[in-house]
Symmetry: C3
Subunit: 353 residues, 3 copies
Amino acid sequence: MFLRNCWYVAAWDYEIASEGLMTRTILGDPVLIYRLASGALTAIADRCCHRQAPLSRGRREGDDIRCMYHGLKFDPTGRCIEIPGQESIPPAARVRSYPIEQRHSWIWVWMGDPEKADTALIPPAAGLDAPEWLMKSGHMDYQANYELINDNLCDFSHLAYVHEKTFGAGDDQFATTRPKISTLPRGIRVERWTVNPPSQEYDRRRPPSADMYLRYDYLAPGILLMYSAQLPAGSAQRADFGEPRDEPHHANFTSQAVTPTSETASRYFFCWGPRSSEALATPQLVDDMFSLAGRAFEEDRKMIEAQQRNLLLSLDDPPLFISHDRGPSLMRQVLRKLIEEERGSRTPSPATA
Amino acid sequence: MFLRNCWYVAAWDYEIASEGLMTRTILGDPVLIYRLASGALTAIADRCCHRQAPLSRGRREGDDIRCMYHGLKFDPTGRCIEIPGQESIPPAARVRSYPIEQRHSWIWVWMGDPEKADTALIPPAAGLDAPEWLMKSGHMDYQANYELINDNLCDFSHLAYVHEKTFGAGDDQFATTRPKISTLPRGIRVERWTVNPPSQEYDRRRPPSADMYLRYDYLAPGILLMYSAQLPAGSAQRADFGEPRDEPHHANFTSQAVTPTSETASRYFFCWGPRSSEALATPQLVDDMFSLAGRAFEEDRKMIEAQQRNLLLSLDDPPLFISHDRGPSLMRQVLRKLIEEERGSRTPSPATA
Amino acid sequence: MFLRNCWYVAAWDYEIASEGLMTRTILGDPVLIYRLASGALTAIADRCCHRQAPLSRGRREGDDIRCMYHGLKFDPTGRCIEIPGQESIPPAARVRSYPIEQRHSWIWVWMGDPEKADTALIPPAAGLDAPEWLMKSGHMDYQANYELINDNLCDFSHLAYVHEKTFGAGDDQFATTRPKISTLPRGIRVERWTVNPPSQEYDRRRPPSADMYLRYDYLAPGILLMYSAQLPAGSAQRADFGEPRDEPHHANFTSQAVTPTSETASRYFFCWGPRSSEALATPQLVDDMFSLAGRAFEEDRKMIEAQQRNLLLSLDDPPLFISHDRGPSLMRQVLRKLIEEERGSRTPSPATA
């Protein structure tokens, strides 16, 4: 079950060269993405309206695409502009066009009703081009439903277990204390402190003791925008475990996106990096952070794919709800409500209208 | 959906040695094919009537086959003639027998009602044994429904695109002009000229200018019998784009057959070669032609398998019909009508009776 | 369709080390098996009740298991004893526990109602620890339904065909004569003689002539316990083809077990060996026997997996019943009756109550 009226990350912008044709399966739809001579992007169905051959096996002719099965030619809006061997082109001769935007280093595609595509709904991610951050980026394919990955990202208690030796660094505060969670119109906000946690392995300059503050928005359909900061020891107390009042020694930001390929496969995009203004923000640090993240994300992938395999077996009993499920549950409710609204089974609430 | 009352190509005759047992899945049925001591062929279900073990894992005992699971023995008509450990053999102890014929270098198997098997329905293919042609042969497996391959072979407009660099040789006449198409009782006939097309890569002796004439019958369930000729420049005009009146410089023939393995897999058999009487009909030429064909058929396979994958995804809209679809559409109608007649939902028309 | 209220072989006892966690899929259920500090075994569902992550990816903490996704901790009975981040543990927080027993070198798991688990139902197998026999053991995975393997083991007529060159040793008595078959409360008993059969390849000391006696119980769900003896020539006659009266030259025993992994996959466990008291019971002999068995079991596997593939295709006709099917048919009836009783559709007969 997918929300269609929203922006999905299809790729990193650097994946789409000025030449060439990229095909990506998103929500089960084959989508062709390419750049026009102007540099602008276009996304149309990767499936000729004649006999469903993939247009990505076709030929670019200027800004147009010729299907290399029987030669039908399409303009960048998906309109068929030539049918070899016949003069007239029926109005139905077109393939679906998808609104597409390049922003925050990501290529965003709107998979639903084009009339409703609203660029204001593109989440305010920070990408490789964000001057404030020194980012490194990557992606990973999952053999798992996207909501299992959303669940994972909406509850960091797993850091103490899945990431015991990476992000968790041996600390159990993520499991023993609870974050503050609030709902947003299209997502949830998570805020938490950890008091004097062990150092992350990349963090060689940390003072002997420090507090960590972390705040992220998780937005439909599956975008994580997280700010983390290391602050002087005592900061958590001084801020009464709310908004930090002290100046951080170090801060970093990560943007992450989960895009369903199908009901049982997903692609996960991520970038992460320190403030570019920090003295310690060297390429070496960024590499060290990214190396840690790569191992940690692989830990997630192994666990979630194993969970998916278990879920495909029959289940006797309903899953147990625990207190740390509040984040994932709220996020599932937000998504469910948006899907119901989209399908017309529920009147939009003012907050999401 | 398959037509059963018709002859399917199961193999090249040279694939079935005098010894040995061959198994082929045709229309989803496992079929065992072997030669008797007399050289005659037999085809029976490759599935013992006792516990469904494959008889192709069995042992030949003269002209009989012993299932090597529990020892039941079958004669070449599929009748069980021995059940170890018991005297009497129930009349139901038999496996299905399929009418089989060897003709035009192909092994033909009738997959439907044996009572209706009529060798007059075997299409007049030219094989390796045709004295008029110097043929080379091969086969290829497709992960695609057989009708997608039929469609491809009933519309050569794709030569200008799929085979742009092989059979198409950079010419777009196959796409820009239309062939003459007529229906036959069990297929369609396609005829066309191309005026002074570029040379095919194997054709080093072609005069600076020449016309090409091509005529083929495409017969149910999926047999292509095509004659091509290269004629003096102006021949097309002189023949008023009908039956050639001039003598060809060069002519060749190809027999091709598409046999469904299952609903989503097929085997494709083909041979091609020049007139044996021509001075240029050297083994080198035949090899050159075949090398070209091999690359071209691979181009088809890649496109059609990609089309099949797209077709397995859900579709919003009906496919667009274009003028070049006339051949594939007529052929699909012919096949649909034969299948309906076979299933009794339609009275045979006099033409197909 | 599985019988659940019975003991299934999950593993050889040596497969389960004192440390470590073993996961096995049995009847489609993921089962986690491990040893407590006391050496005792425990088996619980390999699926956390929270989000279905496999506990086999978890961490042992003494005799308990912590799920390494969100940190829930379970005791060896499957009861959840810790949920990080919350005080109270709901009573529903538990995973299923399976009765488990170690006996005859096998680990037995009861897959049904734990209340009904009765160790008296564990078949009296002889394992590596049986003082009377010098055993060697192994296992093999099948891509086939377990009942196809049961069928195979309940009818040795296949020795003359499948094992023509191994166990059958060129003898057809297994096919031409019939065993004595009787029913047991939870299985069948098969007894038979072969008169002066050829030597088995491992049997270099056999007298020029000898008779073979064989008796086995095949017990639900799929346990074979077989005694074979080689006796002086004439013994069959002297015993009137009943219970042997002479002293064997040589005797051996095999315990075998078929455990369904899913409806189309199974694991097959086996051990085999001579009487330890025999002069010829050397490690070399055991190796020679096991080498023969390994090749023979591979012959079975190839045939049964091919049979399974044929069975997955659609069938026109019901399978033929032959006289050698008596054993497999009786065993299928026994199993069907037990399954029906378990499901409450039939009142237990006094014999099986």
